[in-house]
């Protein structure tokens, strides 16, 4: 036996197998009928659509298996339109697959390069056109056109300015100032400590001047959750304990992971849960992360009461609220 490797021969195209409809006129007739039935189903679909638009009132509900109680008007509009579009496509494909020619045909590509005469012709036409327009002679037009085209090119650069402005300190600052009252959201009512029972929570925002409006971008940073526990339930260091008031503790509601609103407070376990990625914070230990992807506790807002007995912020947040960002220092 020799060790020579025999070259595999080009097997060529597989032999063409005729379809039944190509050889049997009966099968062809049958395929024709199938295509016609598909097109008729499409027509029926359109008639259903028109009919249900005109004749089915918009407030009729019918029971439909699987879906339950469904608005009949919408249901038949949808079914009609689905049938009308789907069966046209199905009919066309079925037609092409069973009846249209399916022989493999080879079409030779023409040469990509234009002929030399065509190329010479084109160059001559372009030169004649330029001469007729007088670009070489009329320098006023040439220069003003150059100016206008140049300026058009400049305008996208100006629009790039809309990518800014740079965030500045807006990521690190919130609207909380020393002495800002905590007010209910919604409702804007100031809160006294005695308004909250043990186990109560309140969603709050910083107070604003009457008649003023909050920007959504501010609410997204300023939202604070108030929770009242029994003071002896806290497990805080002296500084953090001084930030609470008679068992009321305030946390930023913006998750330190991705910025979702953390307000699923479980009264029995004293856990705060973020609904997006299940970061869980222990309220009694200054919102320490006890589960989930969050990297640091929720920022705690230092609170106290003002001379009229309403809850106010002792000082602004001592760290940026919300998720991490590039320039964040910690």
């Amino acid at each position: 036996m020799s060790n020579e490797i025999e070259a595999i021969k080009d097997p060529g195209l597989p032999a063409h197998v005729h379809r039944r409809a190509d050889t049997d006129p009966k099968a062809a007739k049958k395929a024709e009928r199938q295509v016609a039935i598909l097109f008729l189903l499409s027509a029926l679909g359109t008639i259903t659509l028109i009919g249900s638009y005109i004749f089915i009132p918009q407030d009729v509900f019918i029971f439909f298996p699987v879906l339950g109680n469904t608005n009949a008007h919408q249901l038949f509009l949808g079914l009609g339109m689905a049938a009308s579009l789907f069966f046209i496509g199905m009919g066309a494909i079925h037609w092409a697959k069973t009846l249209m020619p399916d022989e493999e045909v080879i079409i030779q590509r023409h040469e990509f390069r234009s002929s030399d005469e065509d190329r010479a012709d084109f160059i001559k036409t372009a030169k004649d056109g330029a001469a007729a327009a007088g670009l070489g002679r009329r320098s006023l037009i040439k220069r003003s056109l150059g100016l206008s085209l140049g300026l058009v090119g400049l305008s996208p650069l100006i629009l790039l300015g809309d990518l800014g402005p740079l965030p500045g300190d807006s990521l690190t600052k919130t609207s909380w100032k020393t002495g800002t009252r905590l007010v209910t959201d919604p409702g804007d009512r100031p809160i006294r400590p005695e308004d909250m029972e043990v186990g109560a929570v309140a969603q709050t925002l910083p107070a604003i001047a009457p008649g003023a409006h909050r920007k959504l971008s501010d609410i997204a940073k300023d939202a604070v959750l108030l929770i009242r526990l029994r003071p002896e339930e806290f497990n805080l260091d002296a500084e953090r304990l001084s930030w609470t008031h008679e068992g009321i503790i305030a946390f930023s509601k913006i998750c330190s992971h991705m910025g979702c609103a953390v307000a699923l407070y479980e009264q029995q376990t004293k856990h705060l849960l973020c609904p997006c990625h299940q970061s869980t914070f222990d309220v009694t230990r200054a919102a320490k992360v006890i589960f989930g992807p969050s990297a640091r506790p929720l920022p705690q807002l230092a609170i106290t009461v003002d001379s009229e007995g309403y809850l106010v912020a002792q000082s602004p947040f001592n760290e940026p609220v919300g998720p991490s960002f590039w320039e964040r220092s910690s």
Binding site: A21, T70, P186, G187, R189, V201, Q267
Partner: protein, 251 residues
Amino acid sequence: MAPLLLVLALFSIGTTFSVAGAATSTPLTAAERSALIDEGQRIFLKGCSSCHGLNLEGSAIAPSLIGVGAASVDFQVATGRMPVADMSQQIVRKDPVYNEKEVEALAIYVASLAPGPEIPGEEHLNYERDGSSAEGGELFRTNCAMCHNFAGQGGALTQGKYAPTVMGVTPRHIYEVMITGPQSMPVFSDKTITPEEKLSIIKWIKAAENEPQLGGASLGRVGPVTEGLLVWTLGLGMLVGVAVWLAMKAR
């Protein structure tokens, strides 16, 4: 003619109010009350005291009921949560064990030993008149939606606990839940969410309950999770089927 109509209108308003008022407020006499307290104590000793203690003091497996108030008892017992059948992660809603009269007796008994949140009367639950569903929707989204879902369908908490759906709960029980904070739920005080705002929340919940499903299957009204599941399985499955058929050679 006009003055006559006015007199007639005022008269009819006056009578409907007095009739409605008479029907809803039936103050108990002292004798009825003490009879109810006795009845409630009898039920408590028989059905509740083995866990909650002979004097409501609680035990290792059940909290003290001192100061929980009639509202708490009414919610827990009338929604079937108490007496509890399964002491695992969550105490679930089920068919109530006690009838209305027995629940009332229990509630009055527990409230008689220490004050707490009271059962709101019918006259305080006229949410159709006193509530605003627009305001209720805003309040619901800020205060309730994170646990109970933006359409009130309920949602998961930690370690197998969950916030139940708020659909199909009576207005009285919704109100009681907000002032008592059962299980994992915190309390929503009357000062931070006023009684009138609570009625707005109830009105919104009732509006959400009765909202017709134009598209039929609501898929749990939980949004993109179930909708995506359906599209990815059924929708893409159909597309795969069509693609296979497209590429198949006709015989």
